[in-house]
């Protein structure tokens, strides 16, 4: 490879159309994918890329739905417990607040980050990017936001919380009256949406949008 020294990593004709498996470093030639198809690495079997059968418009609509549902899930009480005519309901905020007061600040911070801050940041970021991606453009701050999205992706745990709520309800049911509140239904819908989004390969946004507003490389 005798590229000129300044051309350390420029996308050029030779690297165009190539794909490197992030799990084993194998170089593949990119083939066309039909909707819903995915390419697998021939060496290690990891998914190389996935073609979503979904347009940016559709994804944006789902993200807006997710935002509404997320707001409901976090603001509304999740379940109510009853004992001898006494009732206690809890929202996500109560959960975080109680852990903070009960000498488990570490857990409070973890819960706040994984159930509140990161999921919300993910929804808002994706929504912002998709508003522009609908017309094939890159939103202001596209580059930084895509990188951020990659980094906080693994730290959203709403779906684990839903399962946790289920376990808590079963445990509490042994001793208390359990009344489901709207928050738990909102969480159920949110979990469905998360599952839909889990199957979407977001790195494709890099290829599907182009840099017309001159977000010049520094």
């Amino acid at each position: 490879m005798d590229a000129s020294p300044s051309d350390v990593a420029g996308p050029d004709a030779a690297t165009h159309g190539l794909l490197i498996c992030e799990h084993c470093d194998t170089v593949h030639r990119r083939g066309p994918l039909a909707h819903g198809e995915m390419a697998e690495c021939a060496r290690c079997g990891a998914v190389l890329e996935r073609c979503r059968g979904m347009r940016a418009d559709t994804m944006l609509a789902l993200i807006v739905t997710a935002l509404v549902v997320f707001a409901q899930a976090t603001l509304w009480p999740i379940v109510t417990l009853g004992l001898n005519g006494q009732y206690v309901a809890a929202t996500l905020w109560d959960v975080i607040h109680m852990m903070w007061l009960d000498h488990s600040q570490v857990v409070a911070v973890l819960a706040a980050a994984t159930l509140y801050v990161f999921p919300l940041a993910k929804i808002l970021t994706l929504g912002w990017l998709l508003i522009y991606a609908r017309s094939g453009r890159r939103a202001p701050g596209f580059r930084r936001l895509m990188v951020a999205l990659h980094h906080f992706g693994p730290w959203t745990m709403s779906e684990v919380f839903v399962l946790g709520a289920l376990v808590s309800i079963v445990k509490a049911h042994l001793y208390f009256d359990v009344l489901p509140d709207p928050g738990i239904y909102a969480y159920a819908v949110l979990m469905l949406l998360i599952t839909v989004f889990a199957g979407i390969d977001l790195t494709r946004l890099w290829d599907e949008t182009c840099d017309e507003d001159a977000e010049v490389t520094p």
Binding site: M1, A3, P5, V8, A9, G10, P11, D12, T15, L18, L19, I20, C21, H23, C24, D25, T26, V27, R43, C44, G45, E49, I78, V79, L83, Q86, A90, D94, V95, I96, H97, M98, M99, H103, S104, V106, V107, L110, A111, T114, R143, R144, M146, V147, H151, P154, W155, V160, L163, G164, V167, S168, V170, K171, A172, L174, Y175, F176, W206, T217
Partner: protein, 212 residues
């Protein structure tokens, strides 16, 4: 099938943030750290200090995991009757009191998944260090499994948090978190960092023996 070329041999680097294929700087082109032209992330041939970092995080996680299992994670008090639960006793209670299915799920999330992570990452670190070509594909799958299911261990932490917020009936009934849950939360976070620090490309480094 033809031999599959690896990016390293072709002088290419894949950006693991955005997937861009980049040319690796050749030898003698200075020590400047190459950055991805598309997303600006730092490019690595392999992640830096994989063994040191992953071992350190894994050992730290294990040190947290011991008190997480030994210490109680939750106290339930009702009418002056105090009961401290560990992770295992919580699973047993769930099993006995009528929800074996859920007990199995909690057992997997709290016991099997963390143990699997310790064993899997430990095995991967040792075999990669040796450049072993034993069961490469299976080890690659194992790593992807660890990445995929790792964060479900937070389940018990959320259960304790939710019960604490819900069971507040003063003298009649009260749930409090105990230090075990903090250690357990830290275990999960540390093992997640450990698996992020590991570089699965190392599994395929070292000499390749025909069709293994």
């Amino acid at each position: 099938m033809s031999v599959l070329p690896r990016a390293d041999e072709l002088g290419l680097l894949g950006c693991h943030v955005c997937g861009q294929v980049c040319r690796a700087p050749g030898a003698g082109e200075g020590d400047a750290v190459p950055a991805c032209p598309r997303c600006g992330s730092v490019l690595h041939r392999r992640k830096p200090a994989v063994y040191t970092r992953t071992w350190a995080l894994l050992i730290a996680a294990f040190l947290m995991y011991v008190p997480a299992n030994v210490l109680p994670i939750m106290r339930t008090a009702s009418l002056g009757d105090i009961d401290d639960n560990t992770i295992i006793s919580g699973v047993v209670e769930l099993w006995v009191k009528g929800s074996p299915g859920l007990a199995v799920i909690v057992f997997c999330a709290s016991i099997v998944v963390p143990m699997l992570k310790f064993l899997a990452l430990g095995t991967l670190l040792v075999t990669c260090r040796r450049g072993s070509n034993w069961a490469r594909r299976q080890r690659a799958q194992l790593y992807r499994l660890v990445e995929l299911i790792g964060y479900w261990s937070m389940l018990d932490v959320f259960v304790v948090a939710l019960l604490t917020a819900l069971v507040r009936f003063g003298f009649f009934s009260l749930v409090e978190p105990l230090p075990g849950v903090v250690f357990f939360g830290l275990t999960v976070v540390l093992t997640m960092f450990a698996s992020m620090c590991f570089d699965p490309r190392l599994i395929w480094d070292g000499k390749e023996d025909s069709d293994d």
